[in-house]
Symmetry: C2
Subunit: 248 residues, 2 copies
DNA sequence: GAAAAGGTTTGATCTGCATCAAGGCTTAAA
DNA sequence: TTTAAGCCTTGATGCAGATCAAACCTTTTC
């Protein structure tokens, strides 16, 4: 986005939704003061619904801590996850009055909210905000398209491997990769949520996780704690062009 | 986006990529003159590849006439369409050097291109452009998420019905709905392209199209010319909450 | 006007994942 | 200590859609 000097920010929050990702040191002055004035925090417990599709939504927000999901549900109950929001991700759409998806906290969740009206006004007067939002939205669009390939063309095993690789990669930025290079993380999703992410049933998810374990691609401690002894091996299972590009 | 007075524009092009969609009469002055200076046109024949994934891409563009697709291909040849670009849609990403998807002309295609550098500079100085691009990108993201539900959870029959409804709806803005309310249009995609859109095989597409015809949901003239005698009936087959909202 | 090439349909068969069903493990409540 | 509630695993079976195969347009080429 060609700003002056970008730096990633740790999460004290206390700032603009876009700033969660990267901040331009020289540009932050009054823009941030104004954001400061219209922001407030909301907390949700694991499992709680933040908002239902179709409900009035008079704020936009940024995830501070925890994980939220966007899901769509068909009349007969079939569910598809269409967004997985990690810290720094943005929720809500400037210029739309109602939510288009169910938003749910899958872990305890803290969001930094901005009432929509003043946020939109600020967007008008502060070009940086629209530009940064554009960049974030384009990233999300790329992620959505990757996800479409997964949903449309990958096998169940490839889907599971892909999801594990995605989570491992996103975590790896912050977290440790232990000792000699194996990666360790906790699954933030239940088997059912994984199924909704991947367009599978929870039984199939369970079977394929077991299969990857049996084949030595991953190790399990309990149900949720995952150890990936060889990340490249996991990536091979995803069906993607390897290149890996693990630690950017 | 809260502009002054929006109006849709027919396609003489000769303007900014975002203006293809809607134009703010009061804002167009010098901004458009500068766009005018950096734009040029390119034409492609049906079937021609505009750009390959990974290739250097030093322009952004807007579809003027014709239809283009974005597709992703896995190493073993599995293909998934991830974007269907109709006139007024935007291609390319400000701030990225290489194409992320294969872009192909499925019909004869004319695009209005802007070299990336000057376009990005113009974006810096003209907030409207980023704001309009943001809005368009958010629309695309919504479409992508709808598409994800289709890929992950719908049956083959529902997928076909959904695709036909999407095309019918998008066409209906410009085109006729004949006589007493039946909708008529030409499929711009081959069976194989439909399959790549829907995450199916071309044989399944063919079978389900035949089934919808047999059941009276659609009529066919030749292979491509579709008649939808009752749009609501078609929408019922999509699995979506009806509401329809056909003629916005 | 024959032949070739794309695109499409239809049939026969196979298979990966869904569905139905039961039981296990872990944590929380009674 | 037992019961209940979530969450997860595993087995048996069924089916939607994939795969393999052949033939049918329609248009283009020679």
């Amino acid at each position: 986005m060609a700003h002056h000097d970008l730096q990633t920010v740790s999460h004290e929050c206390g700032d603009c939704p876009i700033r969660h990702r990267a901040v331009c040191a020289r540009c932050e002055s009054d823009e941030l003061q104004r954001l400061e004035q219209i922001k407030y925090y909301r907390s949700y417990q694991a499992g709680q619904t933040v908002i239902w599709s179709g409900d009035r939504m008079d704020f936009v927000a940024s995830v501070v801590t925890g994980i939220a999901t966007l899901t769509q549900t068909m009349e007969d109950g079939r569910r598809q996850m269409v967004g997985l929001l990690l810290p720094s991700d943005f929720v809500g759409r400037p210029g739309r009055a109602t939510a288009a998806y169910d938003v749910t906290a899958t872990t305890d969740l803290v969001m930094c909210c901005f009432r929509k009206k003043p946020f939109e006004e600020l967007m008008q007067s502060t070009p940086h905000i629209a530009q940064r939002l554009l960049e974030m939205t384009l990233d999300e669009l790329d992620a959505a398209r990757e996800w479409m390939l997964l949903l449309g063309r990958k096998t169940a095993r490839e889907k599971i491997a892909s999801l594990l690789a995605i989570i491992a990669r996103r975590d790896a930025h912050l977290k440790l990769k232990s000792a000699k290079g194996s990666i360790v993380f906790d699954l933030p999703l239940t088997r059912e949520e994984m199924a909704d992410y991947l367009g599978l049933t929870l039984e199939t998810v369970s079977r394929q996780v077991s299969a990857l374990k049996r084949d030595g691609v991953i190790e399990l401690e309990g149900k949720r704690h995952i150890i990936v002894p060889n990340f490249d091996r996991l990536v091979e299972e995803t069906g993607d062009d390897s290149d890996g590009g693990f630690l950017v």
